[in-house]
Amino acid sequence: MKNIKLFGCALSAALILAGCSQTSPAGSDTSSSTPAPESAEPAAETLNQIIYGSTTELSGDLGNAWWTNNASDKLLRSLIDDYDVIVSNQTGEFVENASVCAGIESEENEDGTKTFTVKIKEGLKFNNGDPINAANYVAYALVQYSPAVLEDGAKVSTATLYGSDTYQKGETKELSGIRLIDDYTYSIRINADYVPYYFETTYASLKPLSLKMYSDADLTVKDDGNGAYLEGGELTKDSVDASRFIYDGRISAGPYTLAEYDQAALTAVLKINENYAGNFEGVKPSVETIIIKKANQETMLDELKTGSVDFLSSLTDGNQVDSALDMVEAGGFKTVSYERNGYGKLMFQCDFGPTQFKAVRHAVAYLLDRNDFANTFCAGYGSVVDGPYGLAMWMYQDSKAELAEKLETYAYSLDDAVAELEADGWVLNEKGEPYESGIRYKEVTPEEAGTYQHNVTLADGRILMPLIIEWSSSEGNSVSELLAVMLANGDQTAQAGMKINQNVMSFSDLLNYMYRDASQGEQYGVPTYCMYNLATNFTAAYDQSFNWVTKASNPEEYEMGYNTNFTDDELLNQLSMDMVYSVEAGDDEAYLKLWVDFIDEWNDYLPEVPLYSNVYYDVMNDKIQNLECNSLFDFDQAVVYATVE
């Protein structure tokens, strides 16, 4: 018993000592460093660092996006791998990387394909000092399209790169679409179907890759005239897989280099890459150390307050933003805010039920006070858009006035909703008599009626469709809860003669119904829900092609479920395709004109009702200077401009 007591005392003492020994000195600046164990690192080393608190945990997979890894993995990868020939800048515009690219030339070939010849700068180096030349860029493509990468479960499309399909299948040794011209020049050839393309300069972009990471054998890149190929060994699934999890001595070429990856704590420590030549503007990082660690939603502001993290990205929750702003007011912290490049939405399926009618979609929009909704949901930190765009996009900025004139804002109005419905024929009751109160009905054709569950067939053979909208909403979703209060159960909806039935389900279930994925169960293949609530974000390359294909013009793609709204608007489809596939790269004027037309048509057809577009808040310790992220320019790009004071 004495021994047990002694052990208990010793354990308690150890815990207390461990706690006390880490306590920051009284009155010390909490923002100066993380609480450190008894022999803390010298202050100078810990000061010039940023601890990035991420709500997504690192998975440890440092492989490429071919394996679709998560946001934190992507952040880590972007910090250690750079030198893409084409990059997007602060406004989301694609530009040549001045530190890497010495010039790009393009040439149209007789067979309709297009070849981009890229010259890279001399003197570039990997983090270990190895020189970078064109062979390293070509190696990237040879690995990316290799059968071994495919075998390792990567998803790499061979649609655009000439000869990549046969190379990926292992039918050819050479990748004919990629040529190694000389030590600092390579070329890349694009299939005819994919040119012209507004973002086609991105086709020319590759990044350097060290083959030492992929094989113990002495792999080298060769080109005998038929295309580039690998010689000196074999690229295997195992070697490719192993390369994704190399942490010590990882060869990379970005502003930072991976100094430590703690597999137990899932924390990464990055140090400046001394061999880095600079980003697309020639800027080199000055923050010595970046640490990426997990931060919980519930306690991340406490972590920031206590110095366990220095930077939190993209806060949207109103309570958290309020708390963050209180911290800023108290001193020691600051925020940077920017518009989200996307929005939360009510999405309609437009080929069955009441939402196949434009008037019904318009009526739903009129019945929801979107400004009030956005204010409530975002607690004042959000705004409303009237089409599929983000407020930070250059296209929106350049056409703001024109859009303001053209776009319908669908301001909250019961009268407008009723007027639209009446004009569209929603003027009957369930007996086929003139409507007075309750749910509205419309006489529809058998084709329009389809198999919608609520249809009524009268004795005289007329088919009536009631204005009952089946809504699929995901569980535990605060947007759904607010929509239920402000729209589905709102008095105005009943007064308009509309009924919205909320059906709560898991997000996976929602997706199955949305995709009409019968492979997951026969019930999913049957059109059931007319309305869904979810969210969408846009990337720097605004490309809506194939999202609006119609049954008439593209039956195959339509059946594949690429158009999840199941729209039938030929103009919308045409504009979305023309916007990127009929405009030459660099012709911003033509692109912008088609973009405005597309937004205008979308706004009228209204396949979705945009609900809110958040304002994101980055919160950080005020020792950090010049760290200006936005929705098109992430932390990994912005941090090279930052300093710590």
Partner: protein, 338 residues
């Protein structure tokens, strides 16, 4: 005894197969498509044809189009897999984590070590406090300390552990700054040996305190009740009447009898060191088994979740056997040969 153990192991194997089949069926009832989940992020950058081709290839690779019993047999290793090899659960293949892109066995090792590390301390701390406290309260039943402990433990017992965790974070990490808010170690510190151990202990101290506090109520009251029962037995009165020292009465006579119902609980606690606390590990960002299991479910990584579930099944089955056997060892009156 040997015959009994062999019989129990036979039952154990049967139960294992039944549970595994049920679990596999249940996980497959969840409406999800692992192939689509994997491709979802790339959809916007692929043409419809390319997407469809990749999707179909992936479904084929994963064997998703086969009947569920075929898939179960393949997963269990009773029939050859897509590559023609017998390589399932029975052959030591716990599956492939789609989220971590690694074999499950590789994913599980580090969190399991962490969970065992933290649970060993938590169990020792909790038992080290609850057993003496329970005995003291029973011996001094109705006293001030007993009354205080009764109130205190019922509060600890009633408040959900995530509330306790958040309150303790606020008090000890934010206000007093004694402990870090979360994490498993000082990032970038490169400690080794004793320093690493102390650093881990520093980061685990607050979750350990929360775990201990959360478990005080139940065990203390259990020990107290068992001890009160034991102290009221006739042989205790006899011992006291014979003039045996009070300490000897309590620890040698009463405690030994009180130990019988408590021992099964203690063994189950020790078996529990393999299973992580979902709430504690998530609140304090500890990469343990509980948080790994949740991660598996949240990311539709069902092979990972299923493997963890099967691991717990085995631990529970073996644990139940050990408990039954130990009961017979501790209490000679119990015969376990039938």
């Amino acid at each position: 005894m040997t015959k009994y153990i062999i019989k129990r192991i036979g039952y154990l194997i049967l139960v294992f197969f039944i549970v595994s089949l049920l679990m596999y069926m249940l996980y497959n009832l969840i409406p999800s498509d692992p192939a689509r989940d994997q491709l979802e992020g790339m959809k916007s950058s692929l043409t419809p044809e390319a997407y469809q081709q990749m999707y179909q290839n992936l479904r084929k690779q994963m064997g998703l189009d086969d009947h569920i019993l075929i898939r179960y047999a393949r997963w269990m290793g009773l029939i050859p897999n897509m590559e023609g090899k017998f390589y399932g659960l029975l052959e030591g293949n716990f599956g492939y984590s789609q989220y971590f892109k690694k074999n499950v066995i590789e994913v599980v090792v580090s969190p399991l070590k962490t969970t065992i590390f933290i649970n060993i301390f938590a169990t020792i701390l909790a038992l080290g406090i609850t057993i003496p406290l329970g005995i003291y309260c029973a011996v001094h039943k109705g006293g001030k300390i007993d009354n205080f402990t009764q109130v205190f433990t019922i509060i600890g017992y009633s408040i959900p552990v995530y509330i306790i965790a958040l309150v303790f974070v606020f008090i000890f990490a934010v206000l007093l700054r004694w402990f870090p808010v979360s994490g498993m170690g000082t990032p970038g510190a490169n400690y080794t040996g004793m320093k690493l151990f102390l650093d881990r202990l520093y980061y685990f101290a607050l979750p350990l305190i929360v775990m201990t506090f959360g478990s005080l109520g139940g065990m203390t009251r259990y020990v107290r009740a068992a001890m009160i029962d034991a102290l009221s037995m006739d042989h205790i009165k006899t011992a006291r009447a014979k003039g045996v020292r009070e300490k000897a009465v309590i620890y040698s006579h009463a405690w030994r009898n009180a130990l019988l119902p408590v021992v099964t609980l203690i063994i189950s606690w020790f078996l529990g060191i393999f299973s992580g606390s979902v709430i504690i590990e998530n609140t304090f960002n500890i990469n343990g088994m509980g948080s790994l299991y949740i991660k598996g479910l949240q990311n539709h990584d069902y092979e990972l979740a299923l493997a963890i579930q099967m691991f717990y099944t085995v631990v529970s089955l073996v644990g139940a056997l050990i408990m039954d056997l130990s009961y017979g060892i501790v209490d000679p009156r119990v015969h376990i040969d039938k």
